[in-house]
Symmetry: C2
Subunit: 184 residues, 2 copies
C-alpha cells in the first residue's frame, strides 16, 4: 500500500471489449485483411521500385483508358502533386501514355501501354487469387454479401464512381460535378 503500488496512478488493466457495445472484431478484421490484401502488390512492385501509389494509378488507368487527369484525381482523392510524381514515372517508364483530348485539347487522356496492361493484369490476378481462395472455403452467398457490405461502407458520394468502374457508365465526368473542391 506504499507509493510503490501507485506507480501508474491511472493505468487501466481491463481490455476494451465487445461489452462496450462495439464490434471490435469487424474493425480489426478490416485492418488485418486490408493489410494482407495490399501486401502482394507491394511485393511485386518493389522490384520496379514502385509503391502503392503507382499501383493505384496504373490500375485505374487500365480500368478507364482515356481517363483525364482531373477525373483520375477525383477517383484517387489525392492532390495533383501526389499524382504527378508517380504518373511522371509511369509515363517515363512506358507503362502509361498520354494523348491530347479530342474535344478539349487542354486535357491529357491517359492510356495504358501493352506493357502497362500486362503489369496491371498480373497484379490484379494475384489479388483476385487471394480473394477467390478466401471465398472457396466459404458458402457461395458470401461473395455477394461481402460486396454489399463493402459497398455500404463507402461514402454515398463515392458510390457512383465504384459503380461506373464496373458497369461501363461513361458518366465519369458527370459523376460528382466536381465543385472544384479538391484538385489544388
Amino acid at each position: 500500500m506504499t507509493r510503490k503500488e501507485v506507480d501508474s496512478p491511472d493505468a487501466i488493466t481491463f481490455p476494451m471489449s465487445e461489452e462496450d457495445g462495439i464490434s471490435f472484431e469487424l474493425i480489426e478484421l478490416l485492418f488485418f485483411a486490408y493489410r494482407d490484401f495490399v501486401a502482394d502488390p507491394d511485393t511485386m512492385l518493389a522490384s520496379l521500385s514502385y509503391g502503392r501509389a503507382h499501383h493505384r494509378v496504373l490500375h485505374f488507368v487500365n480500368r478507364r483508358p482515356g481517363i483525364t487527369v482531373a477525373n483520375l484525381l477525383d477517383i484517387l482523392a489525392i492532390t495533383k502533386q501526389s499524382l504527378a510524381r508517380v504518373l511522371k514515372q509511369l509515363i517515363e517508364d512506358g507503362f502509361i501514355t498520354q494523348q491530347q483530348g479530342d474535344s478539349d485539347r487542354r486535357q491529357r487522356m491517359l492510356y495504358p501501354t501493352v506493357k502497362g496492361r500486362e503489369l496491371a493484369l498480373e497484379i490484379s490476378k494475384c489479388q483476385a487469387r487471394r480473394i477467390e481462395e478466401a471465398l472457396q472455403t466459404l458458402p457461395p452467398e458470401t461473395k455477394q454479401a461481402s460486396k454489399a457490405f463493402l459497398y455500404a461502407m463507402i461514402e454515398p458520394q463515392g458510390r457512383p464512381i465504384v459503380r461506373s468502374l464496373n458497369h461501363g457508365l461513361e458518366a465519369l465526368n458527370v459523376i460528382e460535378p466536381a465543385p472544384s473542391s479538391r484538385r489544388k
Copy 2:
C-alpha cells in the same frame, strides 16, 4: 493514316474488365471501403496532430492492456523505430503508461490511461457506427458472412492474433513463437 494517328503506338483503348476473369469489383470495393473507413479516425486525430500510426498503437494497447513492446510489434508488423516514435508521444501526452514487467523486468508493459481509454473508445465508436449503419441496410446474415470473408483474407499466420484479440486468449506470447524475424 499519316504519322499523326500513330502518336501513341501502343495505347490500349479498351478497359480491363471482369471478362479477364478477375473480380475487379471486390478489389475496388476493398480499396474504397477501407479508405473511407480510416478517414473518420484520421479526422478525429488530426486535432491532436496524431496520425494513423498513433491510432493503431492506442487501439491495440486498449485491446490488450499490459501488452509488451515486442508483442505489440508483432501485431502491428512494423519496425521498432516506427513504433517508438509514436509510442513516445502517446506516453508523453498521457494516453499510455508503462510499467516494468513483473516476471521479466526488462519488459515494459503498456497500459492505457483513463484519458487514453476514452479516446480509443470515442474513435472505435465512430468506426462502429459506420459499420452498423452499413449493416442496417442489409440482411442480417451479412455481418457473419463479411466477418468470415475478411478473416479468410488474412494470412494464416496472422489469424491467431486476430482471434486472440476477441476471445481473451492470454496466449499472445505463445502465438507466433517469433523466430526473431522482424523487430530489428
